[in-house]
Amino acid sequence: MCPAAEAVAGGLAPLPYRLTGKRQETADTWTLELEPARAERMAPFEPGQFAMLYAFGAGEAPISVGASDGASGRMVHTIRAVGAVTEALCATATGQEIGARGPFGAAWPLADAEGADVVVVAGGLGLPPVRPVLERVLAERERFGTLSLLYGGRSPDDLLYRDALEEWGARPDMDVEVTVDSAGADWRGRVGVVTTLIPRARFDPGRAVAMVVGPEVMMRFTVAALRERGVPAERIHVSLERSMKCAVGVCGHCMLGPEFVCKDGPVFPYTRVERWLGVPAL
């Protein structure tokens, strides 16, 4: 008999999760599927929250949640191997266990977005943290207005979730636009930065809620383009990235002005952080 699952709120000690599946997305990015290895598991995640994943002996890294299933405790994380910890996580073999703790941070404002046109703008590795938003809106489609995904990557080879993009793009109730910064002759899609998609995307700026995630410079230009289109600043939300060691607001690494990105964010109303993002190297 399996012992009853026990949800554990985010503390400092990781819980064991078993790697059940692994898919290479791009040259340096993998998607890992995890399930609780024993009875103890993390409490359910809201879209936009993150987990601290622990590679044995290498350390922890904050990783967004691409998908999570509250009932089974299964998690999906997409990770770019850019440092010792993320490299070790991506190198984990199926069947092996890693550590995970969470959920941490503030979620995307899905309740506020009910009845609104939902505009999701993602750059590069920014797609995984908004994937649960797309899934939630599609699952409860009648609660929301139009749904747009505007996604930009460096090159066609850097695009994540190709199958999902194709599937979403085929849906009549969702508008998917993809662009890349540069591409070879075999790319039939758009070339240009993600902000070029905003003027012609199908949504009503007066009733839109925008969720933006990507490199900080991409978010700054995206917010400017959204405001230009007429989306009120207070209905634009961004997800920020900073160094994090604890994820609970006590290690000091993630500060942006008075905000702790780990616990006050990572998702913020843009108006709350605009002042701080405008100061270089703050």
Binding site: A13, F56, G57, R242, S243, P280, A281
Partner: protein
Amino acid sequence: MSAAVTFELDVLDDLLAALSERGHTLIGPTVRQGAVVYGEIGSAADLPRGVTDEQEPGRYRLGADGGAALFAHNVGPSSWKSHLFPPSLRLWSSRRDGQGELRVEEEPLDERRLAFIGVRACDLQAILVQDRTFLDGAHRDRDYEARRRGCFIVAVNCERSASTCFCVSMGTGPRAEAGFDVALTEIVDAGGHRFLAEPGSERGADLLGALSTRPADGADERAAEAATERAAAGQDRALDTDGIKELLYANLEHPRWDEVADRCLSCGNCTQVCPTCFCTTVDDVTDLTGSEAEHVRRWDSCFSLEHSYIHGGSVRASVRSRYRQWMTHKLATWIDQFGTSGCVGCGRCITWCPVGIDITEEAAAIRATDLREGLEHADA
């Protein structure tokens, strides 16, 4: 103040013995390597009798003109923070077996009950400031909580100030007002060498009740009052906190940050001696067999490049941005985060800065050339 009592010098050992009997490990000021630091003590004989300190920006020397007094020194490079929030602490260890199964074990809590002997008013405030960081948020630090809960605090009111002290302007001293179990004022005069003791908690009153004391008389109370007044009057450093948060928020691009960056070595000394700085990083280490690993938290400093490192580079790559982060956090953003200043006016960062950078001087320089006033003038 309720029921102040006076006891003679030799009763101090009874006080320390009573705390030991109640299961406390005594931590107090003691001289090590040319500085007064807080370490384990056994009796009053371990206290720095007659030791004084001479402090200036970038300078600290011990003196011996304190006569018979045990607490004639001011604060040194160590703070009580080291004992409530250790510089290095294993949070958990993990084990991976041949099948790839991971076991994680949290570190057992330190069950010792500490007693702090000789906590100055500024440091008492620093403990209350750290309580907000580690106990008042959604996340309670279990290790800090265990250490703090068992801790008995004997405060000592300052009777002199170092040149680097500015607690009066921060409203944190030199007299301990709250947060202690017992507060002492050391009096050495024609009436003898004695301590005026005030209870600050039930267990403090209980401890004093077990000692040989007499009710404080008018002469004792006047002498104690004069001592703290002397300390207050001896301070010529001050930090003007009026509207300091708005001042610094409006001056994040002030040219003074460039000026101080030219002097700052970015060594992090200020953050290591500060009694409220709480930044930590973690080290993950494995044993030689590769089957056991530890996750060790240690003090970090916002002056290091690694502190703000994310893939692609450090957010705060310049010394200017790192000094600005430290000072605006201490004096401004801390207020938004924890409802209090992160500075208690102890002056350690001034004394222990190798180039003598003075936080009061930096804040004053920005106030004197507030960019907002320039804008107002431009508008006019």
